[in-house]
């Protein structure tokens, strides 16, 4: 082995204990995070393979119309609704919408927030002031209320609530990223890259952003959890998807809230579907936060 090869081997050995590898190691030892990961993998699998997994179509009438629909039975494990549709199948198909809502809402918030936050943090001065003061204003309005206001303006509907919840998420991400970038901007490796003549855009995209991203990922997971809850809440208030063929968990709970006494299965099962999927995201988010927190590293 030549000296160069030996040095390369040594370097790759050092690479092994990076932030992400350490984080992954810690995540693997955290039973909560494992449980969360399992829940989310199952949740995503159900959403993706819904047509194969569901015994019936979400809007297929498999039983009789009934004012008081039958509860769980051997044939229909989660019972039927008043239109004779299979609740289990509806919940399985509902997973698609919840997953979509979580990903899109958090994605909208993260993307816009990241752009605003990094621009503010990187350019500083008046850009920073203008962006961050606007974010402060948005933060003064409680998040769910902000989303509520935006949906009221846009009108009810699936796309509208996803956009609304996403926009309501923007200030958090913007603040987080700005703070993280401010901390990184003065770091030695950024100074080194700058003195080597790296242009501003490259500094931001190749050096600062990748190193500021850890807290954003944690926040992203937790934002997905909140998004699912908020969308269900908006749906509960009657602002959700207007199309009756779309099955959404929050809407299922809302439509049957008055039947809690006569047919509790119509409310409890979709409700617990929300709780379990949100719990999964919260468990992972928490695990990630602990795993990525450098303070806990030692």
């Amino acid at each position: 082995m030549s000296v160069a090869e030996a040095e390369a081997a040594e370097l790759s050995l050092e690479d092994q204990s990076g932030l992400w590898r350490d984080a992954f190691e810690r995540l693997r030892r955290n039973p909560g995070a494992i449980a969360g990961a399992l829940i989310i993998v199952a949740f995503a699998a159900v959403a993706v393979f819904a047509p194969a997994l569901a015994p019936h179509g979400p809007n297929q009438q498999v039983g009789r119309l009934a004012a008081v629909p039958p509860g769980p039975s051997a044939e229909f494990p989660l019972g039927l609704d008043q239109q004779g549709r299979d609740v289990l199948s509806r919940i399985i198909f509902g997973a698609r919408l919840s997953l979509l809502v979580g990903v899109v809402s958090a994605g909208v918030g993260l993307t816009i927030g990241m752009v605003l936050g990094s621009v503010a943090g990187y350019f500083g001065r008046w850009v920073d002031t203008a962006v961050m003061r606007t974010m402060d204003l948005m933060l003064a309005v409680p998040q769910f209320l902000l989303a509520l206001a935006i949906v009221t303006a846009l009108g009810p509907g699936l796309v509208q609530i996803m956009v609304a919840v996403g926009i309501a998420n923007v200030p958090q991400f913007a603040r987080l990223l700005r703070g993280s970038i401010l901390a990184q901007r003065e770091a030695d490796y950024v100074l080194a890259a700058r003195s080597l003549g790296a242009p501003g855009r490259r500094l931001l995209l190749a050096h600062i952003l990748p190193n500021s991203i850890a807290p954003v990922i944690v926040q992203g997971t937790l934002a997905m959890a909140t998004a699912i809850i908020d969308v269900a809440g908006l749906s509960f208030l009657g602002l959700g998807p207007a199309d009756p063929r779309l099955t959404e968990w929050g809407k299922m709970v809302a439509e049957n809230a008055g039947r809690l006494e006569s047919a509790p299965h119509l409310v409890l099962f979709p409700g617990f579907a929300i709780v379990i999927s949100v719990l999964g995201l919260n468990l992972i988010g928490d695990g990630l936060r602990e795993a990525l927190d450098p303070k806990l590293k030692s």
Binding site: F236, V275, L279
Partner: protein
Amino acid sequence: MFKYIVRRLLLTIPILIGLSFLVFVFVRTLPGGPGIALLGERATEESREAIERELGLDKPLVSQYTTYLGNLVRGDLGSSIVTRRPVMDELLERFPATVELGFAAMLFAVAVGVPLGYVAAKRYQGFLDNASLFGSLIGISFPIFFLALILKYVFAVKLGWLPSIGRMTVTRSLEHPTNFYVIDALVAGDVAALTDVLKHLILPAIALGTIPLAIIARITRAATLDVLSEDYVRTARAKGLDPGIVDRRHVLRNALLPVVTVIGLQTGLLLTGAVLTETVFAWNGVGSWMVNAINARDFAVIQGGIVFFAFIVVVTNLIVDISYAFLNPRIRYS
């Protein structure tokens, strides 16, 4: 200290002006403009123009905004298009119900959350610690309306222990000088009414207080853990102080500092939660009022409600900052 309060007060003014501007712009971006929003899509051209003239919408934007801001400063939020009454009057009528509910919820959250978090930290990584951490995660994973429905189902419908809707049994008569029913009952010296009102408060307060409880428990735990590893705690123990005294005077007192902030910061969450909780429990407060307004597309009420909620949040943040400066000298002098 005085300088700090003044500076903090002055900082609030641009925030409030900015907020009013945001809401002003928001209403102007409504589909079809405020005229259509007020009258509905089937309004005739003439009636739309008439109402826009009446609202001053034909004037230049700058003068519209200054008029709007002037009204806002005088506490004029416009009139509801459904009831034709001033939005401020309706708001003040219903606000006590929401405050009462929010206060009860916070009381529940603090009374359970602080001891829970503290004990969890003292038993760090023990069974109780893990159980309370997991429990609080479950707590924040519950959509508030679902929790409210379950509580209502179990304790009101199935067990029949507590009433399921409203603030008081409908047939009961009670004078309402303050609209805070608990205070009204106390003022009247009516024990039966007080019991009735408190019974109606329990379920909504638990539903609304559960998420703040989970957050407060986690913060208390984290803060206590921080303080427990401080040098002054070790010193206090090393010099042979009674462990109970160390816990009370050194640990708890310092650990509660961040908790105070968090309690203040829950106001937004409480107001938001009130929208959903009040809907489930038919609670006649600001939250259910807003939901009705949304369904009726009563934009004056929605707009007024949002400005008001934001105002409350800004003011509580101000109070939290100032009280924090009282509690923590390090902030006062920075």
